[in-house]
Symmetry: D3
Subunit: 126 residues, 6 copies
């Protein structure tokens, strides 16, 4: 098995661990327009970065929820990663706490927008 | 009356002054998902900052319209604060002027997005 | 003919070259709420900057697609400029390539959002 | 006198009003590397936007201090505009108040960085 | 003891826990120019948010390192919080890992700048 | 030769093409603090993305100059890429033109900061 197959396979396995069976649907949807970006997404963030042992999956998802809350514009990605955070053992209370803390660093609008996105995710399985 | 009641009460009064009766609806909606952020929103921005005497409510709302135009992503908050600015004595012409000036500092896309949001607010009461 | 008529006329001609007949509709829609911003948009970016000879229209549109991908929030402007880039000779493959490269500089969320916007534009004329 | 001379002359006069005699030095320094940007800076922000009657010079400088605090990276421009705000009648207390309010919209790091820049300006004439 | 004394006292204690004895020096330096922002900084982020039990101090510092890496411009605050993260039990390897993960969400420039800042902090006690 | 060696080798060759002999010095400096980020930087942007045939090296560097100008905070990376753009055939006039165009999309402060950085690079070899 080549290194590239290893990176891709490892990345897809990590994505399934975080996002569940929706992972493959999302990669395919992206690949329909931008197949190389889909491949890089699997290989680099999820094949190279996320499997590294220094931080566990739950901590990584918490950091990503913080990052996307701060950026503000990527609410679709934030929605996916709030789902992912819940899947890997993060509690709703912790997600709300992360978003609240980000009011300090990126302002209240960032925390307000992320709270609305969290509310939409929480409403999916009440 | 405790200090905390003072901050919360003062903040809610300031929010009513700026946003009208919708203030309480907005706080309740936020509190349904993130009750502590709702409380901090009332206490810190509106209880601590906005009532300070160095700047009046109209000037504060103008500065906030500028800030949200520059950030770009929080169009929902910008909509609320354009309504707020109108409530505390800012004219439509002034709001448009602030947005136009922000083209200089954050680029034309920021001013174009904010103009669409202002148009949506202005259309509410023609 | 005054200088101002020259700038405005030159800008509108450049906008027609890039955006086609939709250019005038877009300027009129903006002018309904913010007539001066509409005039500045025609005069400064498209009357002053875009007609300058140092870069051709295709290169300018490619740079603008990069800039809007990085900013993240202005997906409506990105949609217009992806259409514009296609109009002035940029291929779909090049647009996708620009967006993919921006993953390096602004992160994967920026490239994912821009890919969705590109997909929406490409779907208009399949 | 042509329209362009009018815009440039009006812009330079406005810059002198805001920044004092340093205005011309700054324009010349910029023009040494990017003469067209120097001309556009005089003509568009200061020739077109700032002289418009809807907002006075003091209000415009206050809005710009807010915008630059939110952006965070342009501390050199913020320094110039804090000086400019003081020149056109803004008090130190008001500048500090604007910066403090921006903690709400762009987070504490934005307000902390801008406070350091304000401190540097205030130290120039104690 | 009033509520406000409680918030301020709790905030200062939390700052000492995170930043060590430098906490008070930093607050005093800020207070020299912006005393109210200094007070809000102690009361709101460190008095209200950080002491909340849902996340421990180490997790909060890790989230803040992520947030400041993404924002990019506040390298001075990032330096303080990398020191803080080390103080509350975060290893150098974990800090580097957080910064590396942020390359995915905010691009390589964000991770490169934060790595330089981490290197400067690590060099203080080799 | 494994796939990973191919990606790393191809990336380092591309970096040498763009940045000259300084490429290896920069990678080593980064690797002293964050060796994995150094490896990812070589492998992903320069091993995966830049060698792709859809855009040539000059166009890629022009897009990157645009992206870094828009982001504003990474002036160190902008400096490297202005040098890189010059190395792969971009003229000074074109770099200045890109920076000037970005005033439209990210505001004048972005263009002013980038012009100062360009001036510093141009001064290295007058």
């Amino acid at each position: 098995m080549s290194q590239e197959e290893t990176r891709y396979g490892r990345g897809l396995a990590k994505m399934r661990e975080i996002f569940g069976p929706e992972a493959e649907t999302a990669v395919k949807a992206l690949a329909a327009t931008n197949p190389d970006l889909a491949r890089y997404l699997v290989e680099f963030p999820f094949g190279d970065i996320y499997p590294r042992p220094s931080l566990d999956a739950k901590t990584r998802e918490m950091l990503t929820v913080a990052a996307l809350t701060v950026l503000g514009y990527p609410q679709a990605e934030l929605k996916d990663h709030i789902r992912g955070a819940l899947n890997v053992g993060c509690g709703r209370e912790e997600i709300i706490e992360i978003i609240t803390q980000m009011a300090v660093y990126a302002g209240f609008p960032a925390a307000l927008e992320a709270t609305k996105t969290a509310a939409a995710v929480f409403a999916e399985s009440p």
